[in-house]
């Protein structure tokens, strides 16, 4: 039957002590009587019905059947372990509180010991004993707490390294970073050689040393106790600092890498967002990422020198000839049959085609004029009419004896 999570957690909340002991003792029960006997110390009122409670435990799944017995499910013990680990991680403020307590205790011890100069006469030894005992207990509490915190941090790191679910990893990594920043670093600052812890333990050591010296002549037991506290302080202080540093070495690189990658990711996202918003100029790449690019990079290579030398060999010591001030003469245009025919087509009659051509084509040679005449005659046999009479034509310095050709309207066109 599936477990209802809400009922399960509600039952845990109401019967936490019993369930916790159940898990811690890894209890197994072969009968309801055994379960009832186990639960007896936890029954809050006399009228609580053990049978009903046992029935509820079975219903919600706090007790599950094995082959021959009932026991809490395995996950429940792990769940409670995890829960306790998280809840009992002492904050730096707790340790600071204990250091304040140590400071108060050592102040009282110093004040008590102040009048004594030679022996233990006049000292309230019971009170001194009480103070030493309190100091010892508090010191052990600090040591245990730091060790506990460090153990939990180590187990968190180990768990992080074995988790394979990517979604949980991100959460666990942020928790590790939080452990590092909120617990480990402040604790190290407190117990460090420059911190309050060192200062107060120095005072305790000095007070104990004085007490030992005062008790020495009488060989009083309080002297032995003070010496023991003094030695313990030195040893525990070293152990505490060492353990915290170990944890830092374990957790530090992970957190530093995470923090650095997180910074890089922030930069990446900011830059990409700027690009998305069309603000590429904000990236200032030329400023933040200058990459050399020499535009004259080939100046010194052989090819460049060879090219220069080729140009140099073409140097002439004579200046180029000067251009005349007047512009060049107009280029003679060429006459074509087509242009001549276009013009002639606009004219009804021309008495002498060769004369007409020589007038229109100023500068034309005899050959050119006669070739044009021939082409016109061939292209327009209907309009270029050959006359029988011949005559002399003076074309430049040549006299040409030729028949006369007329340009007439074609018979069909009139």
């Amino acid at each position: 039957m599936p477990i209802n999570p809400a009922n399960f957690l509600s039952f845990l909340a109401r019967h936490y002590r019993a369930v916790e002991d159940l898990c811690r003792q890894r209890a197994r029960f072969t009968s309801d009587d055994e379960i009832a006997a186990f639960l007896q110390p936890y029954l809050e009122t006399a009228d609580t019905n053990p049978a009903r409670l046992i029935s509820q435990m079975k219903e919600v799944g706090v007790l599950v059947p094995g082959t021959e017995d009932w026991s809490p499910p395995g996950f429940l013990a792990r769940f409670l372990d995890e829960l306790q680990n998280r809840h009992t991680l002492a904050s730096p403020q707790v340790i600071q509180g204990w250091i304040a307590k140590l400071t108060d205790l050592v102040s009282r011890l110093e004040k008590t010991l102040a009048p004594a100069t030679v022996g233990l006469e006049g000292l309230e030894l019971d009170f001194v004993h009480y103070l030493l005992d309190e100091i010892d207990q508090t010191f052990r509490a600090i040591s245990d707490t730091v060790h506990g915190n460090c153990d939990r941090i180590a187990s968190e790191v180990a768990a992080y390294r074995t988790i394979e679910d990517a979604q949980h990893l991100r959460h666990r990594l942020s928790r590790l970073v939080s452990l590092h920043d909120d617990f480990l670093e402040p604790v190290i600052r407190i117990i460090d050689i420059t911190g309050d812890f060192q200062a107060v333990t120095e005072r305790i050591a000095m007070a104990c040393a004085k007490l030992t010296a005062l008790a020495e002549p009488d060989e009083a037991p309080i002297g032995e106790e003070a010496r023991r506290v003094q030695q313990e302080i030195v040893w525990l202080r070293r152990a505490v600092i060492q353990r915290a540093e170990e944890s830092k070495r374990e957790l530090g690189p992970l957190c530093e890498a995470a923090a650095r990658e997180s910074r890089i990711a922030i930069g990446v996202n900011r830059a990409l967002e700027a690009i998305r918003q069309g603000q590429r100029e904000r990236l200032s790449l030329e400023r933040f990422l200058p990459v050399l690019e020499d535009t004259d990079r080939t100046l010194l290579v052989d090819a460049s020198i060879a090219r220069y030398l080729r140009v140099a060999t073409q140097f002439h010591d004579q200046p180029p000839p000067e251009l005349p001030a007047e512009g060049p003469a107009k280029l003679a245009s060429y006459w074509t049959v087509r242009t001549m025919l276009c013009e002639l087509d606009q004219i009804d009659e021309v008495e002498d085609l060769l004369n007409w051509l020589m007038e229109h084509c100023q500068g034309a040679t005899a050959d050119q004029a006669l070739n044009l005449l021939l082409a016109i005659a061939e292209h327009r046999p209907d309009r270029a009419i050959h006359a029988v009479a011949r005559q002399n034509y003076q074309i430049k310095h040549i006299c040409v004896d030729a028949s006369r050709w007329r340009w007439e309207l074609s018979h069909g066109k009139s």
Binding site: A257, G267, R270, I275, V291, E293
Partner: protein
């Protein structure tokens, strides 16, 4: 009058000077992977620094183990944009997928990871395609416009079968990202945005206020 420094005798010049100078002037970053060239700079760093300074360059030694030159002329922002967008999108993808690998961190493995061009994230989504397209890079031109340029700058090594891996100088882009993550950069952006908003507001107000002749007409 200050005496000019005597020139270095030829035997005092570093052995790989010509090749080193040639590569550095092309914008290439020389790292340990470049073997003899890198070692020559490392062993004669002071000489190189002096020689290059006389030519108007600054030899930069990066903490991640590479050298590059800085001078008066540098690649334009436009040419750097396509490289930057490519690298930033890749970094973003590495950060997103870092918990999938055994190390659970990507920067540590940045130089050892081999990337296959066919598996790059740059063209996997419309948004990324759009960004790449905005800097003129498509899937077909990626190798030519980005990868070969980065390779020529010594930031990555092209490998057979369309693969590549980053070289130490890619850390210049990591530095760039850290620069963008800084408060100064964010403040600068905020100041620019505020100034732009103020300009926009002023121009809007001036549009709202009728001109003198308009008032007369009213």
């Amino acid at each position: 009058m200050e005496n000019p420094k005597p020139p270095l005798p030829p035997e005092a010049l570093p052995g790989q000077l010509a090749d080193v100078f040639h590569d550095l002037r092309l914008g290439k970053h020389l790292c340990r992977d470049d073997g003899v060239l890198y070692r020559d700079i490392e062993q004669n760093e002071a000489t190189y620094r002096l020689l290059l300074k006389q030519l108007g360059y600054e030899l930069v030694s990066h903490g991640k183990g590479f050298y590059y030159l800085q001078g008066t002329s540098s690649l334009s922002s436009q040419r750097l944009e396509s490289l930057t967008v490519f690298v930033l999108l890749l970094f973003q993808d590495l950060e997103d997928r870092k918990f999938e690998n055994r190390e659970r961190m990507w920067e540590k493995t940045l130089l050892s990871q081999v990337f296959s061009m066919g598996e790059l994230p740059h063209f996997a989504t419309a948004e990324k395609r759009k960004m790449m397209s905005a800097v003129g890079v498509t899937q077909d031109t990626l190798a030519k416009k980005v990868l070969r340029v980065l390779a020529s700058l010594g930031m990555l090594e092209l490998m057979p079968q369309n693969q590549f891996r980053f070289r130490a100088p890619i850390y210049r882009f990591v530095d760039l990202c850290l620069q963008y993550a800084s408060d100064e950069w964010a403040k600068q952006g905020l100041a620019e945005a505020t100034a732009a908003a103020a300009v926009a507001e002023t121009s809007a107000q001036s549009e709202d206020v009728p001109a003198d002749d308009e008032e007369e007409n009213v």
